[in-house]
């Protein structure tokens, strides 16, 4: 075994750091999926009739759908009857009115994760919504935000307090029948975050949601809906962790973004779900549908994702560029180590005139990880003078991993300009030796080379999260390199 290989193995053995379980009493629905389960969830949340119907329609449609098989993934069959579709920390019948009433153990959990929900959060200057299993447990900075007219709350609260907004936009960009997992989510989604930025408002702080799966044998099905009215701006970040468990757990979320005229939404993800152990046992199945609608002219939606966790990631944050002169961007770092698999990318659908999109994808494969980029660029006949630039780079660390690229380009307008660049490199022995020869240790050299490889994406992240992402990447790669 070469020296590189042995250091790779050493780093691969690095343990997942968020794998603890919080010992907290939960009400968890018995495993199984049926109309009754959906009625229970909807009833439990006191939802209006139209939403129950919406869920049931999605469910009935889902029953006739098949799990997609086109991705470059090996997925063990999922028994949807073995999953519990609802779990919430046991609390008094009335939800806590403020964070002071939230179970201290929950607060402790978020402290451990580095997401302090309590007073201290004020120092960080980031408004946080925390979703624990199926429910939102607390949103910080609510008052400050409402002064600016910004609504940032759990999805359940939004259904209760702003039903007309929810009804108007829910499913308007990811319809319930969009795909297998989106349909499932539409049927059983339990909570999530809701953001509304009114016309002309620049959201005064970063918004952030932290998702955590705690209970065993549960799925997490959250929904995020962000609406940015005319000429408004918001930057939103989500983070995710889960305990270490031997079974695979399903996370099937839907995120919908709507940007009206001149609005600007920046959506960043640092995904660190439990990836499974070094033999590929356990880990989260992360099957997520994310789509943004640049509905108004000159609107802009930018996705940035750093995907280091999950046993399997299936996810294509996309932009529908409907408004003239609208802009869609996708910046992605996806890392697979051990037996992790990722099939991720984006779709840029150009409908409006002079629309522009940019795709920067960085895939890193280590261990026996398999990493696929799958991207669609579609220029429709109306989309005069549209432009796309795609850059898709893969880095292989070690000799047992794989990188794959599946670009789909459909151009139906002769004035369009579409560029695609792709590279694959093995973490160069040359690069490594160059660093070593200058006195830099192997581990530092690899971190440096990988960090440099991801730079274009990291610089799109909000400052404090860029640091987190970099650290996360180092941890995920620890031992992976030589």
């Amino acid at each position: 075994m070469s020296r590189e290989q042995s250091t790779i193995d050493k780093r691969v053995e690095q343990k997942y750091q968020h794998g603890f379980v919080t010992d907290i009493e939960s009400d968890t629905l018995a495993p199984g999926l049926s109309e009754d389960v959906i009625r229970f969830i909807s009833n439990h949340k006191g939802e209006p009739e139209w939403l129950l119907d919406w869920r049931l329609n999605a469910y009935r449609h889902w029953l006739g759908m098949r799990q997609p098989e086109w991705a470059h993934l090996k997925i063990d069959a999922i028994d949807f009857q073995k999953i519990s579709y609802f779990s919430e920390p046991k609390a008094d019948k009335d939800r806590p009115q403020s964070l002071d009433e939230v179970d201290p153990k929950l607060l402790e959990t978020y402290d451990k994760l580095g997401v302090p929900l309590h007073e201290r959060a004020r120092l960080a200057g980031v408004a946080v919504d925390a979703v624990f299993d199926s429910v939102s447990v607390g949103t910080t900075f609510k008052k400050e935000l409402s002064k600016a007219g910004v609504i940032f709350c759990s999805f359940s609260e939004a259904v209760r307090d702003y039903p007309e907004l929810v009804r108007k936009y829910l499913g308007s960009i990811v319809p319930p029948r969009d795909n297998f997992f989106a349909a499932l989510n539409s049927a059983v989604f339990s909570d999530g975050s809701f953001v509304f930025i009114p016309r002309g408002v620049r959201c005064p702080m970063e918004l952030s949601t932290y998702f955590r799966i705690n209970a065993a044998e549960t799925g997490q099905f959250e929904r995020t809906l962000i609406i940015a009215e005319e000429n408004s701006q918001v930057s939103y970040l989500e983070g995710c962790t889960a305990p270490m468990r031997d079974e695979n757990q399903l996370h099937a979320a839907v995120v919908e973004l709507i940007a009206l005229e001149d609005a600007n939404i920046k959506y960043s993800t640092v995904q660190n779900w439990y990836p499974g152990d070094e033999h590929g046992v356990g880990g989260i199945y992360n099957f997520v549908t994310k789509r943004g609608d640049c509905r108004g002219a000159r609107s802009r939606i930018s996705w940035t994702q750093v995907e280091t966790g999950s046993a399997i990631t299936w996810k294509y944050p996309s932009c529908v560029l409907r408004g003239d002169d609208s802009v869609g961007e996708f910046y992605s770092v996806a890392l697979t180590n051990n037996y992790q698999q990722a099939d991720t990318g984006t779709k840029m659908i150009h409908i409006g005139r002079n629309t522009r999109s940019k795709i920067i994808s960085k895939g890193i494969s280590a261990g026996q990880g398999q990493n696929a980029y799958r991207g669609l660029v579609r220029i429709t006949p109306r989309a005069d003078n549209s432009r796309n630039y795609t850059q898709c780079d893969s880095m292989l660390i070690g000799k047992r991993c794989g990188a794959h690229t599946f670009p789909y380009i459909e151009v139906r307008n002769p004035t369009a300009k579409v560029e695609h660049e792709a590279t694959t490199s093995r973490i160069g022995e040359d690069q490594l030796f160059y660093c070593l020869q200058r006195g830099i240790s192997e581990e530092d050299a690899v971190s440096m080379i990988v960090d440099g490889f991801c730079k274009q994406v990291f610089r799109e992240l909000p400052m404090e999260f860029a640091v987190e992402a970099k650290a996360l990447l180092e941890v995920s790669l620890e031992g992976a390199v030589g």
Partner: protein, 263 residues
Amino acid sequence: MLTIKNLHASVDGMEILKGLDLEVNAGEIHAIMGPNGAGKSTLGNVLAGREGYEVTAGEIIFRGKNLLDLEPEQRACEGVFLAFQYPVEIPGVNNTYFLRTALNAQRKYRGEPELDSAGFLRMVREKLEILHIGDGLLHRAVNEGFSGGEKKRNEIFQMAVLEPALAILDETDSGLDIDALKTVADGVNRLRDETRAMLVITHYQRLLDYIIPDKVHVLAQGRLVVTGGADLALKLEEQGYAWLEDGGIEALETDGANEGPNS
């Protein structure tokens, strides 16, 4: 400073160095010349500890330590610097950051305090001034998109910052036009002092017009076959290397080389 005895090394099972001896003292510049494929670059890579270069016999003592016992990064920290024939690009990694990481790794190894960015930057600017190199390369990624000349200048700049005890310049002149060659040679000359030794590996005599070596060795068939003074390089320039094939060594030796082989 550096003693190499009976060095045998192979690459992919093929023996390239076949009993090489060399003694380099502090303050000296030695030129290693020879035809293509003679093993010149192999010597540099073996000294730096590159993977894939297997030493099958012999020893290398560097400042009292057995170099072959050390990992490449340890050798660097002990003061061995290799200026690469083909400097490697590391996209996205800032040149200044790279160099500071390297310098601090070396300082840490030697038990010296690490430099903060302000202190480092001050030092770096001094070096740039001495070398007459603009500060443009500080802001760019390591060698990314550099021209051939810029890459070589960057190597010399790194050498100036890291202040190695032994610098090995592997075909630093290859691919340089005359102006770039002068800049590089000028940089090397400024770093020349009595504590530092240099091994200049080159195919052509041209570089040695600007970097005057104390000794010139000819490496052929895996050994140093001739050693002489600076004028030996000129002879090689006139006569090429073909004479090595037909017993010309003696002719060359008697023809004015002022020192014998391996003296």
